[in-house]
């Protein structure tokens, strides 16, 4: 159990570093701005306590905000995404009971399941974020297209990270 918490904390730090130092430099065609840090929320175990889920999302968003001068925007988007996570899991898999401690990943749940689950939550996160960032609704179409393209790109990056992580845990078993 303690080992798991330490693993999540290390993941937390590595993801922030990756996002801030590398992924934040991506600027593809003026439209696509990927974010990989939400995979931290995606990877929390199914049985995670509700307040732990929300508070860790809050901490994650705040850390990213601190590094990108966005003040509260990532915090709001990530917390919203964490709030939606239980409903999305129920929606995607139609059940609520999972083995305690299992994490959502392609090895446990299959590639298709993970892809749908991640894509929906990432799109929720990106759309929420880009709407707060613009703070107006007059260029609705522009924001929607930007969220879609960025969301798809982020999900692709996140699927790669899933594969890297779950390969390692399978080897550990």
């Amino acid at each position: 159990m303690d080992l798991n918490i330490i693993r999540h904390i290390i993941r937390f730090i590595i993801l922030i570093a990756l996002q801030v130092v590398i992924v934040n430099q991506f600027y593809l065609g003026g439209f696509i701005t990927p974010f990989i840090y939400p995979i931290f929320i995606l990877l929390l175990p199914f049985s995670v306590n509700g307040s732990v889920l929300l508070l860790s999302a809050f901490a994650m968003g705040l850390s990213i905000d601190m590094f990108s001068d966005t003040m509260g925007m990532h915090t709001a988007a990530t917390t919203f995404m964490a709030f939606m996570r239980p409903s999305i899991i129920r929606f995607v898999s139609g059940k609520t009971d999972f083995d305690a401690g299992t994490e959502p990943n392609p090895v446990n749940n299959g590639v298709v399941w993970t892809l749908i689950y991640s894509l929906i939550l990432i799109l929720i996160h990106h759309t929420f974020l880009f709407f707060i960032e613009a703070f107006r609704t007059d260029d609705f179409v522009h924001i929607i297209i930007r969220s879609l393209l960025s969301g798809i790109f982020s999900t692709a990056l996140i699927m790669i990270i899933y594969l890297l992580i779950s390969k390692k845990s399978r080897a550990a078993k």
């Binding site: 801030v20 130092v21 934040n24 600027y27 003026g30 701005t33 509700g50 307040s51 929300l54 508070l55 999302a57 809050f58 968003g61 705040l62 905000d65 601190m66 590094f67 990108s68 001068d69 966005t70 003040m71 509260g72 925007m73 915090t75 709001a76 917390t79 919203f80 964490a82 709030f83 239980p86 707060i132 960032e133 613009a134 703070f135 522009h142």
Partner: protein, 275 residues
């Protein structure tokens, strides 16, 4: 009362979510309305040092380009040295001599973090309060205007880029001194918009836009960009001008922070007149 507590306890997930959202939005509004982010911004100690480390590494790859920029700037400086000085006592000395008093002083700084992809972009510099940087100073490069200092910590400062919805810069067309306002409408970091040029003014593609010097933040004559497109939108009384920015915001290295020595005197005087 007990029922209320029970209700909250049963739906703690929802109420915690609402509480966290309220905190997040409070931060967003506070930052947007007061331009204040005393604690959580990238001029804080940890973020500043991480960005400093990254830019120390990446800077080696840009050395050639930086050298070219510096050489170019040296030639420009040699040609235009008196440009930043205020002329005084004109009436007495016009014929034989002119007296200048220094109006602007410059600090050099290095960009250690920068973004062009958001609606509101910020830049972090490696100089701060102990080097003499203060909020509301202008930031320029030899190529043109960069932004305005927003917050300073001891060793770092956080700059609002020209690519930000709150930035409006007083500018003029170089060839005929017509005054307008520069702002950024998002989407493309190579473009900006100029407003409030009346329709009788003759414009042509490629006209140079420079700072007006009226804002007390930037000296007069700092390059901003060149005219790419212009039109009068239906129902408007003014031109809407699209500019090509002269600065490549995606490639910032070394910048200058401009301090106007007479800024307080100017703003005090203007406040008295306006109130």
């Amino acid at each position: 009362m007990r029922n209320l507590f029970n209700f909250i306890a049963r739906h703690y997930f929802f109420f915690l979510f609402v509480a966290l959202q309220v905190i997040a939005f409070a931060m967003i509004f506070q930052n947007n309305f007061y331009q204040r982010s005393a604690f959580v911004n990238s001029s804080n100690y940890i973020a500043g040092n991480i960005y400093n480390l990254r830019s120390n590494i990446t800077n080696y790859f840009n050395l050639k380009q930086i050298n070219e920029q510096l050489a170019h700037q040296n030639t420009v400086l040699l040609e235009s040295i008196p440009g930043t000085f205020l002329q005084t006592d004109q009436q007495i000395f016009t014929l034989s001599d002119k007296q200048y008093r220094k109006q602007f002083s410059y600090y050099n700084a290095k960009v250690i973090n920068n973004s062009v992809r958001n609606r509101n972009n910020y830049i972090t510099l490696n100089k701060g309060r102990i080097h003499g940087i203060k909020p509301d100073m202008g930031v320029i490069t030899p190529q043109g205007v960069i932004g305005i200092v927003k917050e300073v910590s001891g060793n770092f400062s956080s700059v609002i880029s020209l690519l930000h919805s709150d930035v409006q810069i007083s500018a003029k067309i170089k060839k005929n001194d017509q005054l307008g306002t520069i702002l950024w409408e998002g989407y493309d970091y190579k473009k900006a918009t100029m407003l409030y040029i009346p329709p009788h003014v003759q414009l042509s593609h490629g006209d140079t836009i420079i700072t007006s010097g009226f804002s007390s933040i930037f000296p007069e004559g700092i390059m901003i960009g060149t005219i790419a497109e212009y039109e009068i939108k239906r129902g408007d009384n003014f031109f809407t001008i699209d500019l090509d920015l002269s600065v490549d915001f995606n490639k910032l290295n070394f910048v200058y922070v401009v301090s106007n020595i007479y800024k307080e005197e100017l703003t005090d005087l203007e406040n008295i007149t306006q109130n």
